[in-house]
Symmetry: C2
Subunit: 356 residues, 2 copies
């Protein structure tokens, strides 16, 4: 088998406004260090998948930024519009099938942060072995807190591995839980966060599409005949016109019975909001976390991110303060879940939309 | 008599950081509308004092900005260093005495905001009449709230005027009061805010300097002999080397017995902190006041000032948010009194000082 990485670059990253914008969402910005999350994701999987076996899938509008960040030789597949993960994965699968029918694909969202590369690669290797058995493999993350922002996977019988890297049957997928339920999951020990990373043989995932999304699968087969021809672009537009906007979890994983889960020993962060900075930057003695020049007086538990100049805080607490380009955001830490509503407010303002 | 305006431009305006900076303090920035407070002050007194009878006194470091804002023909007197109001007024007095020994001078801080120009000019006219009797006249402002940030003047017997424009003997100058005392002053009715504006004959104020600051007065007389000669600059440096840093209130007004007060009917704001914006800009339905593009969601009683781009607030309250040049300030409204300490913190930071 050949292992290919399919890196999904379709996120909108609204919760990182104003550093992320419509034209430059989260996966393309350097939140930590010098490289964008997409560049980091590419570098992380490189030991198993060299650049010629990395395929980036993104809405067409991100073509310029992707080429700029990944260079002219990157393999890119552009969706006419973003349609959640199932269509993007289907599209990648038919491209890979044409290139190498025997291939295995590891699916990686471009906007996750993993610092333990060896641990991550070990888990991928174990997943690749399971995939050879025709299983649809998902990667589960050991929860270290009762987070209510993630879906959970209830693990069944262990089928392989030892110590902190094990493979399991999957008993059930669980929606984002209530706080009480999240605490129960954490205490139970056999629940993991659903990371949105997967590995499977291309023929296995296409068989699953055939079974659970037969209409879309038929269109995928139709599209496959157009790949490499003059009809390709038109066929792609046709494929996406009818494509449902649905996640691969919901469309396939929760329905299939040949599902397995690798529980890895690596760290993982989906960098879901500005508070992710708190998990990756050392706080000062007042609990403030800052990227960029931040000076404070009598201020506690603030998160500051500034692309230039200085951010100064006086007598405030529990705020997220971001300065990026032409915009400043000041938000209560506990209210970051309402970023979407704030952005709607900005969009509704006479001249606000140009700042999104 | 000829009436001259002496406009004092020596304030540091630290409380308006980051819009005001060391090199561009409050009096030189356009806080409201298009013109700086200094330009507004000049325009306001113009009907009584045309430009050739306006003298601006400022520390030498502000020469460039003053010339830029006032044009090449403005009459400027530069202090080697800022030394509070008494030396600046003494300096202006000897310059004017040389020009016109019979002149009267109205002293106006450059950083106050008065919108009712006719009301202001009426009060100045009344003050000018009193000044002809040799009185040292101060302007008192009717308090509309028990503000603890101002000194107060206890008015004595009415000596002239009617309705809302009256002249009084001065019974006592009062330091910035406690909240309880401020409420008592407001209720009593015969207390006014000490505006820091004055009018007097030049010979009267110089006589007062002779009486209450004899050493400094002697130096002023010495300096006067050097005006217009090659020794002037050196003599000015000498004058200021020994000049005490003291306010005219403390040095003269509180000691003199030929003091009168004009209680005007005009509005007045010394624009002492960012909260001054609340008094001059109409709030939105959530009590937010903004200058520049401000969009908010579930945010109340905030003050936002932005020189460009957009400021967005989510779920916050009682904040002052300022974006100016390369700096962002986020402060609790009630903590603006500690701006000095915040700026000290910034000054102490390795690269913070360059942002002051």
């Amino acid at each position: 088998m050949s292992l290919y990485a399919v890196i999904l670059c379709g996120g909108r990253g609204e919760r990182f406004w104003p550093k992320s914008r419509r034209t430059l969402p989260k996966q393309f910005i350097a939140l930590f260090g010098r490289n964008s999350l997409t560049q980091e994701t590419s570098a992380r999987i490189r030991p198993l998948c060299p650049p010629e076996r990395q395929l980036f899938v993104a809405p067409a509008e991100f073509e310029v930024v992707l080429r700029r960040q990944l260079g002219p030789r990157a393999c890119l597949a552009f969706e006419p519009v973003g349609r959640n993960t199932a269509p993007a994965i289907g599209l990648a699968a038919v491209y890979l099938q044409r290139q190498d029918p025997d291939s295995t694909m590891v699916v990686l969202p471009a906007d996750h942060l993993i610092e333990d590369r060896p641990g991550f690669l070990k888990a991928v290797r174990m997943g690749a072995q399971l995939a050879q058995q025709g299983l649809l493999v998902t990667f589960g993350i050991r929860p270290d807190r009762p987070d209510t922002g993630y879906g959970y996977i209830q693990l069944g019988r262990k089928t392989a591995g030892k110590a902190r890297l094990t493979a399991h049957r999957v008993q059930a997928f669980k929606e984002k839980p209530s706080p009480a339920r999240a605490r129960a999951y954490l205490a139970a020990g056999n629940y993991v966060w659903n990371s949105g990373m997967f590995i499977w043989r291309v023929d296995a995932i296409l068989a699953a599409f055939r079974e659970f999304m037969p209409e879309f699968h038929a269109k995928l087969e139709e599209f496959a005949t157009a790949i490499g021809t003059r009809r390709e672009k038109q066929a792609l537009a046709h494929l996406y016109r009818g494509a449902p906007s649905i996640s691969i979890d919901y469309a396939v994983m929760e329905k299939a019975d040949n599902v397995a889960c690798v529980r890895g020993a690596f760290d993982w962060d989906d960098v879901g909001s500005w508070l992710a900075l708190v998990r990756h930057i050392k706080p000062d003695s007042a609990g403030n976390v800052a990227s960029g020049l931040f000076v404070s007086k009598d201020s506690t538990n603030c998160v500051a991110d500034s692309d230039s100049g200085i951010v100064a805080a006086l007598g405030v607490k529990n705020l997220v303060i971001v300065r990026a380009g032409d915009a400043v955001l000041v938000a209560d830490r506990k209210r970051l879940g309402q970023m979407k509503q704030l952005l709607a407010e900005i969009a509704g303002h006479a001249v606000g939309g140009r700042h999104l």
